[in-house]
């Protein structure tokens, strides 16, 4: 067949020759019987019949004309599009925007849900282990080391279970250390994941035998490039880690970055060194210290659900054996990559909403395309009629129109793919100012291109078919006479329905966008229990510089003293974690005089902070009663704490907290509550009335702390260089991190809301632009069709105002219908958005008013130009035209 195809030209000439031969013989016969030569040729031609038709029929028997036909359709489509470049550009552009929006969201879905973990063997068998303790209610991927050990050793459903913990560490050649994110992993980690070394060797079970006895490390490819410039002699080299000497064993293969998609570590340490890397705090023997991630591999043939129920069986035994620590523990398994269930579940919801919204944008673009095609079909009415009159089949015409649409759609799809590449590469270049190794990588792979291709092909066929059917259903006689069909005047054309639909979808999108933007504004200005404007901060971790407690206390005291004297600084304080920043933790609370709950999951808890004197003054947190931390709260002094009002309401049944005592551990001496402050937000913005308590930093030494300064300067981060100088004067080796204004540091907290607002806002504007062009196109077309009618009206005395009113009325009906429909849809959609909204009800009347006004304004603007053109119609010219 293929061979035939290439010989097509040859076969065609052969056919011509064959027919010519026949004609010649025929003519000769006639000449022989006495007919004049010229007449003979004509007669034989006449006798022969329609040569073109015969050839067409014969070509049909050759069987491969569909390819040829498609080629001709393509040529025809190309010519026809070249003749109307404005239509082609608009159609391709609107589809590119719609498909681009859709493919971008799809590439995010692809990157975080569909793509298997890179660099890992058989990633489908891997899972992340989540623990759920009754009272907190949500599953987090954290287990204690003893629990990890028991799950690993007691199960029969797993090939293996590896433990890991994220630790920041100061790494580098002596005297040139920098903060890097590392992971302490159990010895089976690399074997379990099936990671190959790029050079040297990786950690093995032998490297995790003796506590504190394996000062070795493995670099990731990026860590090796970033920190050591890809030094080929790094294997076996000695490197300083938190002031100790570690040996580099090897480098992991390129492309591997652990099992978390968003957190990419630079270096791996042996779990045996956990205590040394985390300031002598041994977390491996405390069953209540849930500080470790666990990633496991299912045995072949075991499903995740089977493994989950098996592990829950072990969990129930643990709850019986250790009710204090593990009472009420529940295990949930999730695919790895998105911090277990912690990010995965909210992300699924978020991405689903965004995908739905982007589909809506695409729908608007498609409807736009369809209404443009309809208008175009109107313009080509005469051409279509002529072709139908000459005997072209309706099927052929429809096929040609669809081919043309396919060309437009594929061009739009290509544009959309380019847009996606552009957006995702911008996303990859973005580094959120947070204190974790967060990387946003959204690779655009074949799957994304395939998606764009399928979407464009489907849109071409789905949204091109209706206009094509309409276009070929022409009434021949009036079309040929170039009559505009005044006789059968209809108020509602298919086009009009489309514009109304488009307006209603734009209203819906706009409504969602405005709602989310308003909610973001609200949450940014909501009371969070402290005032961020004017606050500057720097963080340090003294463990990483090898400080012991006495030296660390001395350093913290001196830094605070000096910073407080800096010009422009009103007050300064130290706190282990700024509320709403990434490191916030909570602690169990045992109230003195209340019975200790039997199960660990029944113990109430509260957010726990440790702060220096002046903390509440600096943060501008209102003190309700009692006192702030002050010079009395020294090392070894009476144990005290300050709680928020929610603490009193929730944990003390509303009693006055002052003078009451509680502890965080049944074996420890309780602390007395000496102050009560207003309740704010501590972990995320959606929380309501969460209990929190603060303990004095001078009593409870913390090596990692954030220094917060209330400044009089604008912007607040301009004092950071002076703080840096102060620190350098005391100890030049201290590395500061997370520096800048507190507002910037909290960016991550607002990340989801901000992303939602930006995406929805962009989609809303996109939909608005698309429907504006839709309204404009349809109105302009309607006016051009009505030129004659308007001419007649004006000739018999209609004024410009009459004409304007007439055009505006028909536009008004379309836009009004769309508005009402869209606002109805918006009421329904608002309910879906309720979960991510903060401080705005989904039926917010102000939002309705804003959307109404915007849509009306855009609609009016899009109608104005065609309407004005209608008033300028010269009746004489309009009537003479036809």
């Amino acid at each position: 067949m293929r061979w035939d195809f290439w010989r097509r030209k040859g076969r065609n000439t052969d056919l011509d020759d064959e027919i010519a031969h026949d004609l010649a013989l025929e003519a000769e016969e006639r000449i022989r019987s006495g007919v004049a030569p010229q007449e003979a040729e004509q007669a034989s031609r006449r006798d022969f019949g329609n040569v073109g038709l015969l050839k067409e029929g014969i070509r049909e028997t050759w069987g491969w004309t569909s390819i040829e036909r498609f080629g001709r359709d393509l040529q025809y489509g190309w010519r026809s599009l070249r003749k109307s470049p404005l239509f082609a550009t608009m159609a391709v552009l609107s589809l590119a925007l719609g498909i681009g929006a859709n493919a971008t969201i799809f590439s995010v879905i692809n990157a975080i849900f569909l793509r298997p973990l890179p660099g890992v063997e058989r990633p489908s068998e891997l899972f992340s282990l989540n623990g759920k303790m009754g009272s907190r209610g949500s599953a987090v991927p954290l287990v204690s080391y003893p629990d990890y050990r028991d799950f690993r050793d007691r199960n029969s459903v797993l090939t293996g279970l590896a433990g890991m913990g994220f630790v920041p560490a100061s790494v580098g050649p002596k005297g040139n250390c920098q903060r890097m994110w590392g992971v302490t992993v159990t010895g089976n980690y690399f074997q379990l994941l099936g990671i190959k070394p790029l050079a040297g060797r990786l950690l093995q079970p032998e490297d995790d035998r003796v506590r504190g006895g394996h000062p070795v490390m493995v670099l990731t490819y990026t860590g090796w490039q970033k920190r050591f410039g890809g030094d080929p002699n790094i294997i076996g080299a000695k490197v300083q880690v938190n002031g100790r000497e570690f040996t580099v064993l090897g480098i992991t293969a390129k492309g591997f970055f652990g099992t978390e998609l968003l957190m990419t570590p630079d270096v791996y340490f042996s779990m045996a060194m956990q205590k040394e890397l985390q300031a002598g705090e041994d977390l491996q023997e405390r069953r209540s210290a849930r500080n470790f991630f666990a990633v496991g591999r299912l045995k072949p043939g075991i499903s995740m659900a089977q493994a989950e129920s098996a592990l829950n069986g072990i969990g129930q035994n643990l709850a019986k054996e250790y009710p204090q620590e593990d009472g009420g523990i529940e295990i949930k398994l999730t695919p790895p990559g998105l911090v277990g269930a912690y990010l995965r579940n909210p992300l699924i919801g978020f991405v689903a909403v965004m995908f739905g919204v982007s589909c809506l944008v695409l729908l608007v673009a498609c409807v736009n395309l369809a209404s443009m095609l309809l208008a175009r079909a109107g313009d080509k009415r005469k051409e279509t009629a002529i072709r139908l009159a000459l005997g072209a089949g309706r099927g052929v015409l429809i096929r040609q129109l669809l081919t043309e649409n396919l060309m437009v759609a594929l061009a739009g799809g290509a544009g959309g793919a380019l847009l996606t590449i552009w957006i995702t590469s911008a996303l990859a270049a973005w580094h959120p100012p947070v204190d974790v190794p967060l990387t946003v990588s959204v690779p655009v792979d074949m799957r994304v291109f395939l998606f764009a291709l399928v979407v464009s092909a489907v849109t071409a066929l789905l949204f091109g078919l209706l206009p094509a059917l309409q276009a070929t259903k022409t009434d021949l006689v009036p079309a040929l006479k170039n009559e505009a069909g005044i006789g059968r005047f209809r108020y509602w054309h298919l086009r009009d329905y489309m514009v109304a639909a488009q307006v209603s979808m734009s209203v819906l999108l706009l409504f969602c966008a405005v709602l989310v933007v308003k909610s973001l504004q609200r949450s940014l200005s909501a009371p969070i229990g402290f005032e961020t404007p004017g606050l500057a901060t720097v963080s340090f971790d003294l463990n990483m510089q090898g400080y012991d407690e006495p030296r660390g206390r001395e350093f913290e005291r001196r830094v605070l003293d000096k910073v407080r004297q800096l010009p422009g600084v009103e007050s300064a304080t130290l706190v282990d974690n700024i509320p709403l920043s990434s490191g916030v933790t909570w602690n169990a609370v045992y109230i003195e005089g209340k019975p200790v709950p039997k199960r660990a999951s029944d113990v109430p808890n509260a957010y726990a902070f440790t702060a220096s004197p002046d903390y509440f003054h600096t943060m501008r947190t209102r003190l309700i009663s009692g006192r702030e931390f002050d010079a009395r709260d020294k090392q070894g002094a009476q144990r005290v704490a300050i709680v928020n009002s929610a603490f009193g309401a929730r944990l003390l049944d509303g009693a006055n907290p002052l003078g009451r005592r509680f502890s965080t551990n049944t074996t420890k001496e309780p602390m007395e509550i000496v102050g009560v402050v207003e309740t704010g937000k501590y972990y995320n913005l959606n929380e309501q009335n969460q209990a929190a308590f603060w303990t004095p930093l001078d009593t409870w030494y913390k090596s990692k702390a954030a220094l917060v300064a209330r400044t009089r300067v604008i912007p607040p981060e301009s004092v950071v260089p002076s703080i840096r100088r102060v620190v350098r004067e005391i100890d030049p080796s201290i590395a500061l991190f997370a520096t800048g204004s507190v507002e910037d540091q909290l960016t991550f907290t607002f990340f989801a809301a901000r992303t939602a607002a930006i995406t929805l806002g962009a989609f809303g504007i996109l939909a608005l632009v698309l429907s504006a062009t839709g309204i404009y196109g349809v109105m302009a077309y309607a006016v051009s069709r009505r030129t004659r009618e308007i001419g007649i009206r004006m000739a018999i005395g209609a004024t410009q105002a009459h004409v304007l009113a007439s055009v505006a009325r028909s536009a008004g009906i379309l836009i009004g219908t769309g508005l009402v429909l869209g606002l109805g849809l918006a009421l329904g959609a608002g309910r879906l958005l309720e979960r991510i909204l903060y401080g705005v009800t989904p039926t917010d009347p102000v939002t309705f008013a804003i959307v109404f006004a915007i849509m009306l304004g855009v609609g009016a603007a899009a109608t104005f130009i065609p309407a004005r053109r209608a008033t300028r119609i010269d009746p004489m010219q309009a009537l003479r035209q036809e």
Binding site: D14, D17, E18, I19, H21, D22, A24, L25, E26, E28, D47, F48, G49, N50, L53, L54, G57, I58, E60, T61, W62, G63
Partner: protein
């Protein structure tokens, strides 16, 4: 274009018999399209007139089914002409169609026999 009004004396060709007639004609040796048409006409004493609009598509159809094959040769008048020739498959097909045809004629004759 004016449609050919069939001559009173001409017989309408029965559906499906053209292929058989072509094969039968080519049994006597290779022939070009025009020649096939003439041969059928002559052997039917001018009663069967094959239109080119049916003849040529039929030839091409038979060729694509492998029942006949073609070759370009110089014709009697020293013109380049396309000669069709029966293939082995075509010969078998002709035998099969001939016996089918005989059966049909016999059956129809029996039915139409005056009672």
């Amino acid at each position: 274009m004016p449609k050919n009004t069939p001559n009173e004396n001409h017989i309408e060709l029965l559906q499906g018999t053209l292929d058989m007639l072509i094969l039968r004609t080519l049994q006597w040796g290779p022939q070009h399209g025009h020649g096939v048409g003439q041969a059928i006409r002559q052997s039917s004493a001018d009663l069967l007139l094959i239109e080119r609009g049916s003849l040529y598509p039929a030839l091409h159809r038979l060729e694509s089914r492998g029942l006949i094959e073609s070759e370009w040769k110089a014709s009697d008048l020293n013109r380049r002409a396309k000669y069709y020739r029966l293939t082995e498959a075509g010969r078998e097909q002709l035998v099969a169609e001939q016996s089918k045809w005989k059966l049909l004629v016999k059956t129809i004759t029996r039915v139409m026999r005056p009672a």
